[in-house]
């Protein structure tokens, strides 16, 4: 059962020139209680997708088309028993679908504000600086609680804030400290505690471990996992670090140039990648088993997203690109079918293992050749000339 569903989401940023196509026709789902990971190089649109869920895009960003469906509605749209009121579903003025899911992109600013933190909370990128330096850490958690539950008495909210801090391994008294008295890892954990303050259904974590050293990373991931078990939240983790993702996510989505290139269970995507980009990305990260091997980088740089060419977004850097790749960006195909020899079966819904690549007909060959160093060097010559 999906809690959150991205349907053909395209996001643009207005600039002085043509709009930047930060994301294009992105489809994926985050299931109840599960963790979905979005991987990709910087600038591929991951963070934009995360921000768009809560309408937190920068001033010049907007959703051009598509929807973000969320499996709950505003309290006043429900009956006493917690079901969606039938007239809300039928009336087109409400952004609610037949199955009772609500379109987050269509809510007005007052309504989305009530969804923020209460239903979906967010651990921002560089949460190192996300605590306000002039307020006590505890007070900032209390603030979140009191916005969404104004009826909670102040001292009860303070108790809850202290409980939350304790759960992420921060002593209760430290709630009276300011952010500058916290270490980096503590700040990060305090934000995780804050994210759970209103008992959300879902948490978006944008690069939760990037600025931390490996040992602290591990502790933060533990805190995330613990909170997840305890509160049974769904998570959307955004990171460029495949090894972090492998550890924490149930499903993975690989983004490139604003497009979703591949999605599937973490095991499938990491062990049997079905997209040249994922294969390249994997080569560039160390694994425990192949620690001595040289790391391979994908030659070239990510594409600029202003007026991208019609061809497959990755074609320019892809060692397997042929003429068929130059016409259009590929749709999502069923990767399992490709492994079984039925080369290209289109699969738009986010189930099983999908990959956007025309060359799935030679999937096995690609997997073999992607492991070889010269495969990736070859592409350097034509693309740089």
């Amino acid at each position: 059962m999906p809690l959150l569903e991205f349907e053909d989401l395209s996001i643009r940023y207005r600039t002085d020139g043509p709009d930047v196509k930060a994301s294009e026709d992105v489809n994926f789902e985050v299931d109840y209680g599960k963790t979905f990971g979005l991987v990709g190089e910087s600038g591929c649109g991951k963070t934009t997708l995360g921000k768009s869920i809560l309408q937190l895009l920068d001033d010049n960003g907007y959703v051009e088309s598509g929807h973000i469906w969320y499996d709950d509605v505003l309290p006043e749209w429900k009956t006493d028993t917690g079901k969606v009121r039938p007239e809300v579903v039928e009336d087109d003025r409400y952004p609610v679908r037949d199955d009772g899911m609500m379109d987050l992109t269509a809510l007005d600013s007052d309504d989305i504000r009530r969804v923020r933190w209460n239903n979906i909370s967010l651990i921002p990128q560089s949460s190192m600086n996300a605590l306000n330096p002039v307020y006590r850490v505890g007070d900032q958690i209390v603030e979140a609680i009191r916005v969404h539950e104004p009826e909670t008495p102040e001292d009860e909210a303070h108790e809850r804030a202290r409980d939350l801090l304790e759960q992420v391994g921060i002593e209760r008294e430290r709630a009276d400290d300011y952010a500058h008295q916290f270490s980096g890892g503590m700040k990060q954990r305090a934000i995780i505690a804050m994210a759970m303050a209103c008992n959300p259904d879902m948490v978006i974590a944008d690069e939760p471990t990037t600025a931390l050293d490996v040992i602290i990373q591990d502790r933060v991931l533990d805190a995330i996992r613990e909170m997840q078990d305890q509160f049974d939240v769904s998570m959307l983790i955004i990171s460029h670090d495949i090894s972090v993702m492998a550890e924490t996510c149930d499903r993975l989505g690989v983004m490139y140039g604003g497009r979703l290139m591949e999605s599937g269970t973490t095991k499938e995507v990491i062990e049997n990648p079905a997209n040249p980009y994922t294969m390249g990305l994997q080569n560039s990260f160390p694994t425990v088993e192949e620690s001595q091997e040289r790391l391979l980088a994908i030659p070239g740089t990510p594409p600029t997203l202003t007026e991208p060419a019609d061809e497959c977004r990755f074609a320019e850097r892809c060692p397997f690109a042929t003429n068929v790749c130059m016409n259009d960006h590929p749709p999502m195909y069923d990767a399992e079918a490709a492994s079984d020899g039925r080369s290209r079966v289109q699969q738009e819904a986010d189930v099983g293992h999908r990959s956007a690549c025309y060359r799935l007909d030679v999937l096995e060959e690609m997997r073999e050749r992607a492991k070889e160093e010269e495969t990736w060097q070859q592409t350097e010559t034509p693309s740089s000339s």
Binding site: L56, R113, R116, S121, S127, A130, N132, A144, V147, H180
Partner: protein, 336 residues
């Protein structure tokens, strides 16, 4: 919870005291390097050399320079400010009456300036790039580049001569019996209203310029602060835009404004001194001009001294305010 320790405060007071000693020395040097001697104004052509010598003797001008300096330093620190040759009263009597008036004008300007400036700066910084931002910003810059006395003349012309709304000079109604009829007596309430009424134009002239400095700082800092992660998080938490702006963004932007105020307050005092003369407002600024023009060195010296002390006191108050604004600043508290 205060973050200022007694130790720090003591240190701060000692430094302030030393600052004042340095200022006094500078004052002494400056006044003694002025051409001529101030007793020249007391001389008349028919005075004999003996009489002039007597005058010099009386005012201590025959003493060696070091002796004069030591006397000056000792006297000032024991509250002895000397005698004014021009008004022929103890200098302290003049200061005593004038200082509170300047403090009223200067204090009122500081309060209005630092209320309006950051508030406007907050809105402009938040709505940066909009038409309203640009026009108010430009207007502020124009006001900022005008001399305060010129604005004061404009206001006098407009509010006093053309509209006849506000008085253009003095601090209170002169000869109230003539205005309100004989047998008129001031009540406390009426006196206060009268003073405020007379304060309006000088205050308006000073504030018209005084708000801009803090607005400029606030506006720029607000622009930076709105891009901070904690502002993003505050919004993600579901706070209203107003709360994000005031509680999370503006509160942080105030810290650099407080830093700027340390310099800004000296300029406000400066402006008050000039404006007093435009409006014939009988405060310290007015007294400075009168005493300088009349070569009344003892008074000049004392007035400059008192203004310096006023600024040093403001600095201490600002330091304390600073610790409340920014919890990251600790003054002298031991790190635990």
């Amino acid at each position: 919870m205060t973050r200022i320790s007694a130790k720090y405060l003591a240190q701060r007071l000692i430094i302030s005291y030393l600052t004042i000693l340095v200022i006094m020395t500078l004052l002494f040097v400056l006044l003694h390097s002025m051409p001529g001697s101030f007793i020249q104004t007391m001389q008349s052509p028919d005075m004999t050399g003996e009489q002039i010598e007597r005058l010099k003797e009386q005012w201590g001008l025959n003493e060696p320079l070091w002796k004069q300096y030591v006397d000056f330093m000792v006297n000032y620190q024991t509250g002895e400010f000397g005698w004014s040759p021009h008004w022929n009263v103890p200098v302290w009597n003049l200061i005593e009456r004038r200082l509170p008036r300047t403090v009223i004008l200067f204090g009122a300007t500081t309060i209005t300036g630092f209320m309006i400036g950051p508030l406007v700066g907050m809105y402009l910084g938040w709505w940066r790039g909009t038409k309203r931002d640009r026009s108010i910003f430009t207007g502020g810059l124009i006001a900022y580049s005008l001399p305060s006395f010129w604005i004061a003349w404009l206001f006098i012309w407009l509010f006093s001569f053309e509209l006849d709304l506000l008085p253009a000079k003095y601090m209170r109604t002169q000869f109230p019996q003539e205005v309100y009829g004989t047998g008129f007596e001031w009540t406390a309430m009426m006196a206060m209203r009268d003073v405020l009424w007379h304060l309006a134009l000088p205050l308006l002239s000073l504030t018209a310029i005084g708000w801009v400095g803090s607005m400029l700082i606030m506006r720029t800092v607000m622009q930076n602060v709105t891009e901070q992660d904690y502002v993003f998080l505050a919004r993600a938490k579901g706070l209203s835009e107003r709360k994000v702006m005031i509680k999370h963004a503006a509160r942080n932007a105030l810290i650099p404004v407080a830093t700027g105020a340390i310099v800004g307050i000296a300029f406000i005092l400066d402006g008050a001194v000039v404006i007093e003369n435009v409006f014939n407002y009988p405060g310290m600024g007015n007294l400075i001009l009168d005493s300088v023009l009349n070569n009344d060195h003892p008074t000049t010296q004392a007035v400059f001294f008192m203004l310096a002390v006023l600024l040093v006191i403001c600095r201490i108050i600002q330091d304390i305010a600073y610790t409340y604004l920014d919890p990251r600043i600790k003054f002298g508290e031991e790190e635990s």
